[in-house]
């Protein structure tokens, strides 16, 4: 790698999949080093700065397990200028990538424990590396449970992967309002969690999704007896450099791009709510 921290490596888009179509469209991209070499290594929860030259850069969670070396996966919702440009890419196109940025989930501290993953909407992507790593190392963990909800059945991402996950872990899918043919839970994610009564003993809960969902998920986990130290989440803020220099993503004294995005609720609840 170059010692110029702002110079991205070139990466070729090897795979594109429509996860969700329509107004809240999400596409999944897999990218590999354009020169046939390696991209950087990463840990679960870290992010990368992706570029489309001429459009700009955007910080995106890495959605593939660190165990996968051949490519890095990103699931991107069409929201802003750069994410929209991503949705116009075709397989074979070359983008820029630099990273990895931020801290990671302390997965090694969690071996031998029950894991509860609670995701909503696009918030499944940042915790997906952790889910798939835990599943790949299934014997290291006790019960693994995945709660995941979308607004409607058409908003459920990683649908096929989630179905396959049922072979080794409990998966509970939910949608906000009842739909014909839907067999999962109907209602908001925090309520879907309560419906299954997760046990706090020897457990860790990891949640990511819209801020309002995270807020009520944490409230409910506290009600179930989960201590703040047992609850982890990942937050996002606007970023430009990824290196604690451009000055915008701080929550209190810490830049999310360096000290985040992964926080235990015990830490996060004492920080100013500037995220």
């Amino acid at each position: 790698m170059s010692d110029n921290i702002y110079l991205p490596q070139l990466a070729r888009v090897a795979f594109i999949k429509d996860e969700v179509v329509g107004e809240r469209a999400i596409k999944t991209f897999r990218v590999e080093a354009a020169d046939g070499g390696d991209l950087f290594e990463h840990e679960c929860g870290q992010c990368a700065m992706l570029s489309i030259f001429g459009r700009g850069e955007s910080m995106i969670s890495i959605a593939s397990s660190p165990l996968i070396k051949e490519y890095k996966q990103f699931s991107i919702m069409r929201v802003g200028r750069v994410s929209s440009a991503f949705h116009d890419l075709a397989v074979g196109d070359v983008i820029g990538i630099r990273g990895p940025y931020g801290n990671d989930f302390p997965i090694d501290d969690w071996r031998g424990k029950n894991l509860y993953f609670i995701g909503g909407g696009c918030g499944l992507a940042p915790i997906w590396p952790l889910i798939t790593t835990a599943v790949a190392q299934r014997a290291d963990f006790k019960n693994i449970t995945v709660f995941y909800g979308g607004r409607t059945s058409r908003d459920i991402m990683y649908r096929a992967e989630l179905e396959k996950l049922r072979e080794s872990v409990d998966v509970h899918l939910s949608i906000d309002k009842a739909e014909e043919g839907w067999e999962g839970y109907c209602g908001f994610v925090p309520a879907a969690v309560m419906d299954k009564d997760p046990v706090p003993d020897n457990s860790v809960a990891i949640t990511c999704g819209p801020p309002i969902m995270i807020k009520y998920v944490i409230e409910n986990l506290n009600k179930l007896g989960f201590a703040d130290e047992q609850i982890y989440t990942t937050i996002e803020n606007k970023m430009k450099c990824g290196l604690g220099k451009c000055g915008r993503c701080n929550v209190g004294k810490d830049y999310v791009c360096v000290k985040g995005p992964v926080y235990s609720w015990a830490v996060l609840k004492n920080l100013p709510e500037e995220y």
Partner: protein, 344 residues
């Protein structure tokens, strides 16, 4: 190394610095600005409109250019700063103090090549303050002094018809050696006079931050104070406070496109500003610092709490530019004092 320079010979010293591009304050259209020296250098400025920050952190700089023919991978060409050596004369102590603070930001965690390349090629020749401070100066409140040598390579002190010239760093010694016989040994009387000039400079009354050491904890306790909104009500969000600040370092990175097919453009860093709503606005429209109160708090807390928590020093040098140039009279000294006055 402590020497004496006849004031009339300052231009000869500058002329002797042949390996360096020399800048000094120049009065242009009523504004003191650092300019390449041509002719006689004037060192009778109160302070310049902008600090010399731009020499290490330019307002606009190109990181790299990109070029792409359709169907082919993009070609990136990094554009690193030129290794031109600059020496800046007439730097006031407050602006000198800005230098180590910028160094912290751009070298902590990982090094910013663009900054460090420029930084290693810049030397600062300070000029101690010897007159009563302006009504907006408050360097003494933030661990500084009108005669501080922090961040400087050489410090000059005006002794009437001559300058007392003191090397602070090895680079400073080299600059002084280049002067050769222009610099005479300082006599005991010169030493005595410098001490007096410095003591007088420090003794002039300045406005005060009442409890600078207690500010980090007190600001932390005041995060939810209603005063932030109240004190920011007049703010028009122009951002002059941070653009003129010798320690503000926030920046934006954007792609500028010169041609779409074939694609040709540049990735550019420009100064950015925590007083702008766009600075923190997510693409979803959510904004963690959505009003002027939250943005004033960010500016003040960054300088007097967050930076202090991270690096053990205030990120403010007391230069007073944000106070004197604010179009609506927002005054960082008054804000810090007001917010912290009744806190434990």
């Amino acid at each position: 190394m402590e020497k004496i320079l006849d004031k009339k010979r300052i231009d000869d010293w500058i002329a002797a610095l042949t390996d360096w591009e020399v800048l000094a304050p120049a009065l242009q259209d009523g504004i003191w600005t650092y300019k390449p020296v041509s002719g006689a250098a004037r060192l009778d400025h109160p302070n310049t409109r902008q600090s010399p920050k731009e020499l290490t952190f330019p307002q606009r700089e190109i990181f790299f250019s990109f070029e792409q023919i359709k169907g082919e991978p993009p070609k990136l060409t990094q554009i690193l700063p030129k290794e031109t050596r600059h020496v800046v004369f007439g730097v006031r102590s407050c602006d000198g103090k800005g230098v180590p603070r910028m160094d912290k930001v751009f070298t902590d965690h990982v090094e910013d090549t663009y900054y460090t390349t420029r930084r290693k090629n810049v030397a600062y020749v300070g000029l101690a303050c010897n007159k009563p401070p302006s009504s907006t100066c408050f360097c003494l409140s933030v661990g500084g002094s009108p005669v501080s040598t922090d961040g400087l390579d050489v410090q000059m002190t005006d002794l009437g018809d001559r300058y007392f010239v003191k090397a602070i760093t090895e680079t400073g010694k080299a600059l002084m050696k280049a002067a050769g016989s222009l610099l005479a040994e300082a006599a005991a009387a010169d030493q005595k006079q410098v001490k007096q000039v410095h003591a007088d400079a420090v003794a002039y009354p300045q406005r005060k931050i009442n409890d600078p050491d207690g500010a980090p904890a007190k600001l932390k306790a005041s995060f939810n104070s209603p005063l932030w909104d109240e004190m920011a009500r007049a703010c028009i969000g122009c951002g002059i406070c941070t653009f003129l600040c010798p320690t503000c370092h926030c920046f934006d990175i954007n792609d500028e496109v010169q041609s779409k097919a074939p694609l040709k453009g540049q990735r550019v860093r420009t100064w950015d500003n925590c007083q702008f709503p766009d600075f923190t606005m997510h693409s979803s429209g959510h904004n963690p610092r959505e009003n002027t109160g939250a943005r004033l708090r960010q500016r003040v807390n960054h300088k007097f709490q967050y930076f202090h928590e991270n690096f053990g020093m205030h990120q403010c040098t007391g230069c007073g530019r944000c106070v004197s140039e604010c179009p609506v009279g927002i005054d960082i000294v008054a804000v810090v004092n007001k917010v912290t006055e009744n806190v434990g």
